[in-house]
């Protein structure tokens, strides 16, 4: 697939593709008009890679994220995550798949307003069947990791936007997912807070070796990733590597995946 797809990696000739998408098509009805949001898109993303998806409004960025993450079903094509196809997977299995291997960050945070920061972070763990006591401990550790342990008992309405987004980040990472999907993670934040959040995501990408797929309008945010994919009208228009980001990349190579000691990154 990677031969035909827009694959990219850094630091290795052939990186392990954690996300492999080929010929992905998706259309939906908007009023009386049928919108072809994705028109046979191909894409590979390597494990540990931080990829930014950019493009004008309506180009299909969010639809792509939804289809790749299994939040939405595709009309055609193939999506393989960690070697397993999610196309045609039952809702139940796909949901469990998400619970075990994915984390999500959204522009509007999407925290449960009635739960405290800790309880919000606990939720994915509880869903995954972790015992409540252990979940609580892990949630506190996650909040500490994102630097807001002092906000643990507060509810979303009592926190700033940046703090809420940090809770979202903690929630997305708490069960150590392989992939974190972020849709406009800084869209609702001021530039300084945006930078803080991106610093956090980049740091986590480097230290936790998780794959990040970011949908964004902000070139500054996109510039922090290893690679930027530009979309237009449901297709990939271009892609570019970010040399600066790649300098500190931690992307898993085939050799590493097959047990070689030549670890990713530098």
């Amino acid at each position: 697939m990677s031969e035909n797809g827009v694959s990219g990696n850094a630091g290795a000739e052939r990186a392990t593709a954690i996300i492999e998408a080929s010929g992905v098509r998706k259309s939906y009805d908007s009023g009386d008009v049928k919108v072809n949001a994705l028109k046979g898109l191909d894409l590979d993303i390597a494990k540990g890679e931080m990829v930014a998806v950019m493009g004008p409004s309506g180009c299909g960025k969010t639809t792509l994220l939804n289809c790749l993450s299994g939040l939405d079903e595709v009309d055609g094509g193939e999506v393989v995550i960690e070697g397993e196809s999610i196309v045609g997977m039952s809702d139940r299995k796909r949901t469990r798949f998400r619970a075990e291997r994915m984390g999500f960050i959204f522009q509007s945070y999407n925290l449960m307003p009635v739960l405290s920061a800790t309880e919000n972070v606990e939720l994915p763990l509880l869903v995954a069947g972790v015992k409540p006591k252990k979940a609580h401990k892990l949630a506190l550790a996650a909040l500490e990791m994102v630097g807001i342990e002092d906000q643990a008992r507060k509810r979303p309405a009592q926190m700033s936007g940046g703090q809420q987004q940090r809770v979202t980040v903690a929630r997305s990472l708490v069960n150590e997912p392989a992939i974190v999907w972020a849709d406009e993670p800084t869209g609702a934040l001021d530039s300084e807070t945006s930078k803080d959040i991106m610093d956090l995501l980049v740091r986590l990408n480097r230290t936790e070796r998780q794959t990040f797929v970011l949908v964004t309008h902000d070139p500054a945010v996109a510039g922090r990733g290893h690679r930027t994919i530009r979309m237009r009208d449901g297709e990939v228009e271009s892609e570019e590597k970010n040399a600066e980001a790649n300098a500190g990349a931690n992307i898993e190579t085939n050799a590493e995946a097959y047990g070689s000691s030549s670890g990713g990154g530098n």
Binding site: T62, L71, D91, R96, F104, N110, M112, V127, G129
Partner: protein, 994 residues
């Protein structure tokens, strides 16, 4: 039903329609001036058809309850009218000899013969009314009530009305109609021939050609049955015979005399009574010259029926108050939630320049359309619900032959509609005003309003006014002796103090927990701790229900975290449940207002149902002890006047077929209508039927006393004192005051004694009732030496010795009833049958008391259950509220549901979270309702059982289980659809949804 709470229904209808019409006119006018607001409002309605349907359903419930109450009342009115007119027919006014009134008591009226007078009076009456075009006929009538025996099979009927008609005067009256519709004519009767009513023929098992014997005192008269009629012999009971006037006169030995003159008016019999005043006025000289009185039978019957119908409607409305209150809460909740949904667009509307008043109007337009739809549907559906209830009532009376005639007066349906419309619209206006106070920025960004903790001008004013109002009501309660007002005052004081403390900085949890606990304590306080002698009516039940529910809801809502923790701890170990539980119980406890409202609705309705069931069940225990209710007697036998029994014991020895050995005691009872009042009391004397008992009764009656005069060692001594002491009497508990003064409704007693309480140790020594026999003018001061226990079903209002009655009237008053006690194991039914048979010539009518009581209890049971069922309609309110909340939550939380799904919540888990959320509210509401209902009924029954021996606190397990089961199952069903739609939310779409 022509009146409701004392107001003419027609007048009420026009007033309500005028109010509704005025509101509609103002609304239309402002709609024309604000077309944009109007368009926005109207276009909002079809946006979500299922939500609109749910709103209309929720809003219509109060109207439905009104309409169902009215329909039940209307049906009862028309049924009673039909029933009473069956025995009156075309007869509008009956003239008879003047006599003192003989009020219909539970113990049954003594059957007496109307005095005879010259039949020329009928001619005089006809002449006096000859110019009145409305009068259709005037007829003389002789009427006797005697015992009749079939010669064919020996079957007997102790009470048969024999009517002697003058064939030539019967124009304008009913005609005797046989079962095939043919007419029977009195003129066709031969010598010693009679026509027999279908019911009498059925009871006596006779038909045309058979022979019967009628006992007129001097001996039997024999008749041949010439025909059987279905109707037409009026005024009479179902069992009647009809014959020529002359024949009856000669049989009785009153040639040329009659005892009734009948007057009939033109028009339908149901509409009769209209011309009564004119007729009676025109007859005044005739009445006076002949010493006659006019009995306005038709108008009285119609009025009695209408009053009974109105009373039933009022009872249903009274007990429906809780459901209606819950219905009003629901209307408010619906509009608050609608406002929450529209918050953002309302904020935008305000942002682009819409004034607050425009927002109010926009919301009011939309609300008016919902109110209109809901009231229309509710008032019509209520008729259907009323129909179902009437069917059930019908079964209660099926045994007694009382037919239910369904009726729903259009004007009452219109009243229900207008009442619902006005009520709904008033709530809409209040909520519209509340909505219009929104902060534009917060509304657009959907940020919650800050909690100012009552520190606003309005809040401080409320905090200061509430205790002031409370103090005023407390003082007023003491002044007028009203327990309800007093407790309401103290409640407002408690709430007021807490509101002030809250403004001063007391945390909400402490404030509302204290207020809630205060209300609970106050309203559940046993009557021993409350001031004595204050009046307590059914309104107290309503007030206490509202207050304790408010108190309990505050306590629960403000301490929900404890409850929540317990729930999570209890069920958190179940695999897959922790995340579901966490979200399910967090939402309702965060949305305190809507959860509190729903909780209040649920618990209020369940509380009412449970309280009613507890009270019904406990009261039903009274009927279990039939022996106690019957005073230890087994049979009551009423004697006919035509052939009285002079000495029952002697007669028993001679009576054929009566096994005297089985009878262990006999008490004889007679009675006299008197004018009576407490000696020294102010006001006029009232008509009171005084009962006289003989020695046999005093020696055998088993009734106890709530209180006696000093100096009597036992109940028996008091009964025997009626015979041994001069001018003493005992009275029923209804006439004597109690400390808690609890009034469960019903007609007031003829006189109310004062100067003591039944809870005192002894009756005062100077407690006298002055009774006067109006005919002779003779009077006696009877010293009251006992108040008979409440469960004495067959005791009179005032009971004295038979000798007192004889002295009052100047001659021995014949016995009217005999009470028989039987030996252990004797079959009362058989003995009663043998008594009727043995004394058939005397027209003795004997009934086993246990059967009579059990039949009464069964009918009572059906009616109580019906009332509970009617109140159960209120459950629909709570259930609809849960449905509305659940549906709304799915819309509100779409994005969050999407996030949950993205995070890995399975569909089933989302569905379960919603179901648990509703279950949590429903179960807490049900538990509160059951606990509060059990507690309050304990207090109520506790205070009743002090006076009413025989009543015991009983738990109606079955009803409680039914209420809990039905309420919970229905609430789950209502939330299942929204829960399912939540589980079907597609994560990608939901997350895009802003």
């Amino acid at each position: 039903m022509d009146t409701l709470f004392g107001v003419e229904t027609t007048q009420l209808m026009w007033t309500l329609l005028a109010v509704a019409g005025l509101g509609a006119a103002v609304l239309l006018l402002s709609a024309l001036r604000n077309r944009v607001a109007f368009k926005m409002a109207v276009r909002n309605i079809p946006r979500r058809p299922s939500q609109t349907a749910l709103i209309v359903l929720g809003l219509m419930l109060a109207t439905l309850l009104f309409s169902a109450s009215f329909t039940t009342g209307d049906t009862l009115t028309s049924s009673l009218r039909a029933e009473s007119l069956q025995q009156i027919g075309e007869v509008d006014v009956v003239l008879s000899a003047e006599e003192p009134s003989n009020p219909n008591q539970f113990t049954g009226p003594a059957v007496s013969r109307d005095d005879y007078f010259d039949e020329a009076a009928a001619e005089e009456a006809r002449d006096a009314l000859s110019d009145d075009e409305e009068v259709a006929g005037v007829a003389p009538l002789a009427k006797e009530t005697v015992s009749v025996v079939s010669e064919e099979n020996d079957e007997s009927e102790p009470r048969v009305d024999i009517l002697g008609f003058d064939e030539s005067s019967m124009d304008g009256f009913d005609t005797l109609t046989d079962p095939s519709g043919g007419t029977l004519s009195i003129g066709d009767l031969g010598e010693n021939e009679v026509f027999v009513s279908a019911t009498a023929a059925e009871e006596l098992k006779i038909r045309e050609g058979d022979e019967v014997e009628a006992f007129f005192g001097d001996g039997p008269a024999e008749f041949a049955v010439a025909g059987v009629y279905e109707s037409g012999a009026n005024p009479a009971s179902d069992t009647s015979l009809a014959m020529g006037l002359d024949d009856l006169q000669s049989l009785v030995g009153v040639e040329g005399e009659i005892n009734n003159v009948l007057v009939s008016h033109d028009g339908e019999s149901l509409e009769g009574g209209a011309n009564t005043d004119e007729t009676v006025a025109a007859l005044a000289p005739v009445l006076e010259s002949n010493g006659l009185a006019a009995d306005e039978v038709k108008r009285d019957a119609i009025e009695r029926s209408d009053e009974a119908g109105a009373q039933v409607s009022s009872i249903f409305l009274l007990f429906g108050q809780f459901s209606i209150a819950a219905g009003i809460l629901l209307i408010f909740l619906i509009f608050v939630m609608l406002a929450a949904e529209r918050k953002r667009e309302l904020g935008i509307a305000r942002g682009v320049g819409m004034q607050r008043k425009h927002v109010v109007r926009m919301f009011a337009f939309e609300g008016a359309v919902y109110a209109l739809l809901a009231s229309a549907v509710g008032s019509l559906l209520g008729v259907g619900v009323g129909w179902v209830m009437v069917r059930i009532v019908g079964t209660a009376f099926a045994e007694s032959g009382f037919d239910m005639v369904f009726s729903a007066k259009p004007e009452n349906v219109v009243i229900a509609f207008a009442l619902g419309m006005v009520l709904t619209f008033a709530v809409v206006l209040i909520s519209s005003w509340r909505v219009s106070r929104l902060n534009i920025v917060r509304a657009i960004r959907d940020i919650p309003e800050p909690d100012k903790r009552g520190r606003t001008v309005k809040g401080i004013l409320l905090a200061l006014l509430t205790p002031a109002l409370g103090a005023l009501a407390t003082w007023g309660g003491f002044e007028v002796g009203q327990m309800g007002l007093l407790l309401l005052g103290i409640s407002l004081l408690i709430i007021g103090v807490v509101l002030v403390a809250r403004v001063a900085g007391l945390p909400d949890r402490a404030a509302f927990t204290f207020a809630g606990a205060g209300l609970l304590t106050l309203w559940l306080l046993p009557s021993d701790y409350l001031p004595e002698g204050m009046s307590q009516g059914i309104d107290l039940f309503f007030l206490s229900g509202i207050m304790i529910v408010v108190g309990a809801v505050w306590v629960v809502i403000y301490n929900s975290d404890i409850l929540l923790g317990a729930v999570v701890k209890a069920f958190g170990w179940i695999k897959g449940l922790p995340p579901v539980l966490k979200t399910a119980v967090s939402y309702p406890m965060q949305a305190r207002f809507r959860t509190g409202m729903t909780l209040a609705m649920f618990s209020l309705v369940v509380f009412t149902l449970v309280t009613m069931s507890f009270i019904n069940k406990s009261f039903a225990t009274i009927f279990d002890d039939t022996d106690r209710l019957a005073g230890g007697y087994d049979i009551r036998a009423d004697s006919g006047y035509a052939a009285p029994i002079s000495d029952i014991e002697e007669a028993l020895a001679d009576a054929e077929g009566v096994d005297e050995e089985r009878i262990t005691s006999i008490g004889s009872v007679n009675g006299l209508p008197t004018e009576a009042k407490q000696r020294g009391a102010e006001g006029e004397a009232e008509s009171l039927y005084v009962q006289g008992v003989d020695e046999g009764y005093s020696e055998s009656v088993g009734y106890g006393f709530n209180i006696t005069a000093e100096g009597y060692e036992s109940d028996r001594e008091v009964w025997e004192a009626l015979q041994s002491e001069e001018d003493v009497a005992v009275v029923s508990a209804r006439l004597a005051p109690t400390r808690n003064n609890f009034d469960l409704g019903g007609p007031p007693p003829p006189i109310e004694l004062s100067g003591f309480f039944q809870e005192d140790e002894y009756l005062p020594g100077d407690l006298y009732i002055t009774v006067e026999e109006p005919e002779s003018g003779e009077s006696r001061d009877l010293r009251v030496i006992g108040v008979v226990e409440d469960s004495a079903f067959y005791a009179g209002e005032v009971t004295t010795s038979q000798s007192v009655l004889s002295e009052l009237v100047g001659f021995p008053v014949p016995a009217q009833s005999y009470m028989f006690g039987l030996e252990e194991g004797a079959n009362a039914g058989e003995v009663a049958g043998s008594l009727e048979n043995g004394f058939r010539e005397n027209g003795l009518e004997a009934n086993p008391l246990a059967t009579e009581i059990e039949e009464g209890a069964a009918a009572n049971d059906i009616l109580s259950n019906l009332l509970v069922g009617f109140m159960g309609l209120g459950l629909l309110v709570g259930i609809a509220a849960l449905g509305v909340i659940a549906a709304r939550s799915v819309v509100e939380r779409r994005q969050q549901i999407g996030m949950m799904r993205a995070m890995g919540f399975q569909r089933g888990q989302v569905r379960l979270a919603f179901l648990i959320e509703s279950s949590f509210i429903a179960l807490v509401g049900i538990a509160l309702g059951v606990a509060l209902g059990g507690a309050l009924s304990g207090t109520i029954i506790g205070s009743i059982e002090q006076d009413f021996a025989g009543i015991t606190y009983q738990v109606p397990w079955l009803t409680v289980a039914l209420v809990v089961g039905v309420a919970y199952a229905a609430s789950l069903l209502t939330t299942f659809l929204p829960a399912r739609s939540a589980s079907k939310v597609y994560p990608a779409e939901a997350l895009r949804y802003e």
